[in-house]
Amino acid sequence: MEVPILKQGLYLIASIQAALSDVDLLHLRDALAEKVGKFRARGVIVDVTVLDVMDSFASRTLRDLAHMTRLRGAETVIVGIQPEVAFAMVQLGLTLEGVDTALDLEEGLAFLDKKTKRHTSRG
């Protein structure tokens, strides 16, 4: 399962479409870190709305992804974590500490606009 990565203005949007294997997640992480440079992106949104499980491996990989893109000059925000998934994560002890989150794509875009202090039009 390749995750499509769209470029929207200064942002890259990765919309996960189906359950991802560990290898898929690592690919996503590396692809985003690379594309941030290629497209000179300032922000990254990873939409996990369809993920029905976020285990320790997925949490860790998303955290690493966020840290990697930041080192490359782009902020990452994870959007769409469902309430039940959030519950399971917290019970496991996974809090995505140090990683920004937002409710959904729209809030994620608003968040990046504020964080990257770009109030110019996107797209």
Partner: protein, 133 residues
């Protein structure tokens, strides 16, 4: 409504297959959605430990009944290296692989019952249960 499935765990794709199998059974049995998610997450952690520490193994997922309660039991077993110190492995943050060390204690928190047996050089069997609410 007895039901049982065995998922061989050999590659990272099997982790997804196993947890989907677990969710499927939970849904069929009428588990509340939150509990299906907890079960699927627990299976994911146990399956990954098999791959990571034992290379391969299997996960059995079955419906269980006890009195008027029904539930799902999951048995994750491997013939891997085993765990020398189980009470250490059960502590939050303990990991021999530089991992987060949240898998085993976390799975215990997610489930109603948790049981682990492990023999060094023989393997590990983790049995968990979630009752239907």
């Amino acid at each position: 409504m007895a039901s049982e499935a065995v998922v061989p765990i050999k590659t990272d794709i099997d982790i997804v297959a196993a947890r989907q199998k677990g969710r499927e059974l939970a849904t069929v049995m009428g588990f509340v959605s939150t509990d299906s998610t907890l079960l699927a997450t627990a299976i994911s952690e146990l399956a990954r430990n098999i791959i990571r520490y034992a290379k391969n193994g299997e996960i059995l997922i079955a419906s269980v009944q006890s009195g008027d309660r029904v539930g799902i039991t999951v048995v994750a077993r491997d013939n891997g290296p085993g765990i020398a110190n189980i009470s250490l492995a059960m502590q939050d943050g303990f990991s021999t692989s530089g991992g987060l060390g949240l898998g085993l204690p976390g799975v215990k928190r997610l489930m109603d019952e948790f049981h682990i047996v492990s023999d060094v050089n023989k393997g590990t069997t983790v049995t968990i249960k979630k009752w239907k609410r």
